[in-house]
């Protein structure tokens, strides 16, 4: 059971990482008032350029440097390129004031077309080879903790960086001048304008920074996951990241938890194909875990943040109780052997998203000034 749990959760974290990076990109943009449905495209460009950078650097320098240097060079180039694409999004939606959703759609089309095209005319004919991936770096002592150590502290560097980034951004968005300005621009741009904050510059900066983060997500796929660029390798992760962002209520920690839930749901879909777990049992367990999760998050919120609108203690406690009871019951019941088609196992994250949006989990309300170009009255 431990092995299964560790396996499931470390897979969930690996699957969650690009989603978190993408969602953070969305958060920076939307918190400053710019919708970004081009996350997918930015990740794709980030992945492509990270591969080109690392592979070409590796090819040109040969064995002169360690492959990690090539990876770092690739990372830098991938991040910068994605930031550049985000700059295009920013110019289109802030300067030219075109509909931000259309601008995002343009980014997605162009990124898919250009990377596909370039892969066809360059990468494949030249047999360009990847230079490997960042190695796993177990953190001393922490990685020795049973179960948790294996899940959280025996990962690759970009996973740790993601942890750090989530904590840092959670702090920065709510506790620094930068975050205060960003949020004011997304909520009430003319108020920010009257105290001398340059609304459009703030938006440019945050959209471009966000693009860099999406680039990290794309680079992760190449530099830590797959090891080379493959066409359309983001495979819709940018869109899921958008849902993760909303599910996480536009906060980094919320997005992290949401991405983890998504990652877990997907990991479970894969894990159930291994054939050693009863599908029905697993389904009941995950529903129970979700109920538990929702209750626990609600409880933590109402205690720690003292949020005014959070659910009552009774509701949270009964959710936790219900989840726990279901878990115990699932242990006792003998489920009939039934294979759920793999296509259905993969549906869980999508259904979760819809449930999240309907407010069954919590009502999501985004920044007030989102989607509207700022114009002085």
């Amino acid at each position: 059971m431990d092995v299964i749990l560790v396996g499931l959760f470390s897979l969930a974290i690996i699957k969650a990482t690009p989603l978190v990076y993408g969602a953070l990109c969305g958060i920076l943009g939307e918190r400053s008032g710019v919708i970004n449905i081009g996350i997918e495209g930015m990740m794709l460009i980030g992945a492509f350029m990270a591969f080109m950078g690392s592979a070409l650097f590796g090819k040109w320098t040969g064995a002169a440097f360690s492959p990690n240097l090539a990876l770092i060079v690739g990372l830098a180039i991938g991040v910068l390129s994605a930031a550049l694409v985000a700059a295009l999004h920013a110019v289109l939606s802030i300067h030219y004031k075109i509909d931000q959703v259309i601008s995002g759609t343009v980014i997605n089309l162009l990124a898919a077309g250009i990377t596909d095209y370039a892969a066809n005319v360059y990468i494949d004919p030249s047999h360009l080879s990847g230079v490997g991936v960042f190695p796993e770096v177990p953190i001393p002592l922490l990685s020795q903790i049973p179960i948790l150590g294996k899940i959280f502290f025996s990962q690759q560097p970009m996973v740790y960086f993601m942890f750090g980034l989530v904590i840092f951004l959670q702090y920065a968005i709510f506790n620094t001048p930068w975050g205060l300005r960003m949020r004011s621009v997304g909520e009430h741009p003319s108020a920010a304008d009257t105290v001398g904050i340059n609304v459009n510059r703030t938006r440019y900066i945050n959209v471009i920074l966000g693009g860099a983060l999406a680039g990290l997500g794309g680079a992760f796929l190449v530099l830590e996951s797959v090891g080379r660029f493959q066409k359309l390798m983001t495979a819709g992760r940018g869109f899921i990241a958008l849902a993760v962002m909303i599910f996480g209520r536009w906060t980094p920690v919320g997005a992290f938890l949401a991405a983890l839930l998504f990652g877990f749901a997907e990991a479970l879909g894969v894990r159930l194909q291994f054939g050693d777990i009863n599908h029905l049992y697993a389904l009941v367990v995950i529903i129970a875990v979700i109920v538990l999760f929702v209750g626990a998050v609600g409880l933590i919120r109402s205690w720690v943040i003292r949020s005014r609108s959070s659910r009552s203690l009774v509701v949270n406690l009964s959710l936790i109780g219900l989840g726990a009871l279901t878990l115990i019951a699932a242990k006792l019941i003998q489920f009939p052997d039934m294979a759920i088609p793999i296509e259905f196992l993969g549906l869980l994250p999508y259904i979760l998203t819809i449930l999240a949006l309907t407010g069954l989990v919590r009502k999501a309300v985004g920044p007030a000034a989102i989607g509207r170009p700022y114009e002085k009255q």
């Binding site: 001048p177 930068w178 108020a191 304008d193 009257t194 001398g196 904050i197 007030a368």
Partner: protein
């Protein structure tokens, strides 16, 4: 007292099609309250936005303390010691008072990380507290702005300007949202500020206030300075004439009303707000055919929700509403329209019009599906055009064509489109909310005349306005709302400004409550 702290020389500003400021000269002396008086559209706000760096003038220059100042953006203005309290509050609703005040000039503690340092909320909230005590502006620094009352929010705005170290304060129409008592308090604050060395530009279109508080008055009309004077040198009528450019009737001739049977009756109506607290609480009143019932009150005391509940835009939780004895509680707008209700909404651009639609389409916004505009499914554009042409003539709507988007009309003409649309139907009850907000005098006169005409034709009129003068000059009976309750109902003949003001501030309620206890 005699040194000018701010001088404007020949400021000119064009907007497409409009000359907003024409070569304006203006000076502000140290420790003076200098009122800038003018109608809506006279160019007051534009001028002040130029001073504050939100607009760039086409020509002219600004001197601060006799030095030419290059004010490119609000930061420059703040650096030059100029702060502005805007008519529409520039506060971020979801943030606290402290966060709003530090925005743009954040203090951090701990490591000097610049933009990524840790916000020092404690220190700033301390400063706000002491600043508030010094000027008599008390607010809770940790409160979230969206939870504050309008008066409190305004105090936050003034504090914000003081906190940023401004010596020259521009107050843009600060009294529009205040009760007479709160206005008086504001004037006290203004005098205290001047006493402590600040100088104030006070923008308004209300003549009485100017006379009450200003040291000097500059009148603007159609982008130009008409003249500068002092309160003692002119009387009200002269000021009004300067402002409008002709003699103005300060009162409306509303004639005698001949009320008949009750059209609208509201009984014990309760409407919940955002957090399920009642924002309209157990309200009862009636409006009879052929009378104007005015509801006075400071903005945000439940008038908006009351109107929305009566007109079907919001659901009430208890009580009922009847039109001509028929229960219409919580019916939708369409059924209410059938029952003879017309509604001129508070926010004409948000609710009253579809800005991108043509004038003719906006004139049938509620009747497009009825004969003769439609036979239920297909629409008849030529009928709509005919209707539009007729109403444009009848209501003097200034538009080059009925097929252009209504967004290209002026505010007054937009309001006329709404009023034309509502009055052109066969109606029993007219609910009209803030009928003249932001309009020029000509449109105001026209609209007031139309409201009285409607009354005289036997329509029951429910008039809601935060302009006490408007209520007093039009209403036959007046109700006052405070904190969601109808706290008084007075015949117009017996109504005095002062009494109404006390009710609007909730003072009489508390007194009577005290009496009941004792």
């Amino acid at each position: 007292m005699t040194t000018p702290v701010l001088q404007l020389e020949n400021i000119t500003k064009h907007f497409p099609g409009v000359l907003a400021n024409a070569s304006i000269c203006f000076d502000l002396l140290s420790q003076e309250i200098h009122a800038v008086l003018g109608e809506n559209g006279a160019g007051k706000t534009t001028l002040m936005n130029i001073v504050y760096g939100l607009y760039k003038p086409d020509s002219g220059r600004i001197l601060v303390n006799n030095e030419p100042a290059d004010i490119e953006d609000p930061n420059d203005a703040l650096r030059a010691g100029i702060g502005m309290v805007h008519q529409h509050f520039k506060l971020v609703p979801v943030m606290t008072v402290t966060e709003n005040l530090m925005l743009g000039h954040e203090k951090t503690r701990g490591l000097p990380l610049g933009m990524l340092g840790r916000l020092d909320r404690k220190q700033v909230s301390q400063e706000i507290r002491s600043l508030g005590e010094r000027y008599g502006l008390r607010v809770d620094p940790d409160a979230t702005v969206e939870d504050l009352s309008v008066g409190e929010a305004q105090r936050v705005e003034i504090l914000k300007v003081l906190y940023k170290g401004a010596d020259i304060l521009i107050l843009d129409e600060p009294t529009a949202v205040l009760t007479p008592q709160e206005t008086e308090e504001l004037f006290e604050i203004m005098r205290a500020l001047v006493g402590q060395g600040k100088s104030i530009i006070f923008i308004t279109h209300k003549l009485k206030e100017v006379r009450a508080v200003a040291n000097r008055i500059t009148v603007l009309r159609q982008g130009k300075v008409v003249g500068t004077t002092t309160p003692d040198a002119v009387n009200m009528a002269e000021l009004a004439a300067m402002m409008v450019g002709r003699a103005v009737l300060l009162t409306v001739d509303r004639g005698q009303s001949h009320p008949k049977g009750v059209v609208l009756s509201v009984e014990k109506l309760t409407v919940p707000g955002k957090s399920n607290q009642p924002v309209v609480n157990d309200v009862s009143f009636g409006v009879r055919a052929g009378e104007i019932y005015g509801i006075a009150g400071v903005q945000g005391n439940g008038q908006t929700e009351l109107v929305e509940a009566i007109t079907g835009l919001k659901k009430s939780v208890s009580g009922n509403v009847k039109i001509l004895g028929k229960d219409i509680t919580n019916l939708g707008p369409r059924l209410l329209a059938h029952a003879g209700l017309a509604h001129v909404p508070e926010d004409r651009q948000k609710h009253g019009l579809v800005l991108a639609f043509s004038v003719e389409a906006n004139l049938v916004l509620e009747t497009y599906y009825q004969q003769p505009f439609s036979d239920g499914w297909w629409i008849h554009p030529q009928e709509m055009r005919k209707n539009a042409k007729k109403l444009v003539a009848e209501f003097d709507i200034r538009t080059p064509s009925v097929s252009i988007p209504v967004s290209s009309l002026s505010g007054g003409n937009q309001q006329k489109v709404i009023i034309a649309r509502e009055l052109s139907r066969a109606i029993k009850l007219l609910v009209i909310n803030q009928p003249t907000r932001g309009l020029d005098v000509g449109s105001i006169e026209f609209i007031h005349k139309r409201i009285i005409e409607a009354r005289d034709q036997g329509v029951a009129v429910l008039l809601i306005s935060v302009e006490l003068d408007e209520i007093l000059s039009l209403s036959d009976r007046i109700g006052v709302m405070y904190n969601g309750r109808m706290v008084a109902e007075i015949p117009a003949s017996a109504a005095k400004r002062e009494t109404l003001g006390y009710y609007m501030a909730g003072l009489r309620v508390e007194q009577s409550a005290n009496k009941n206890v004792s």
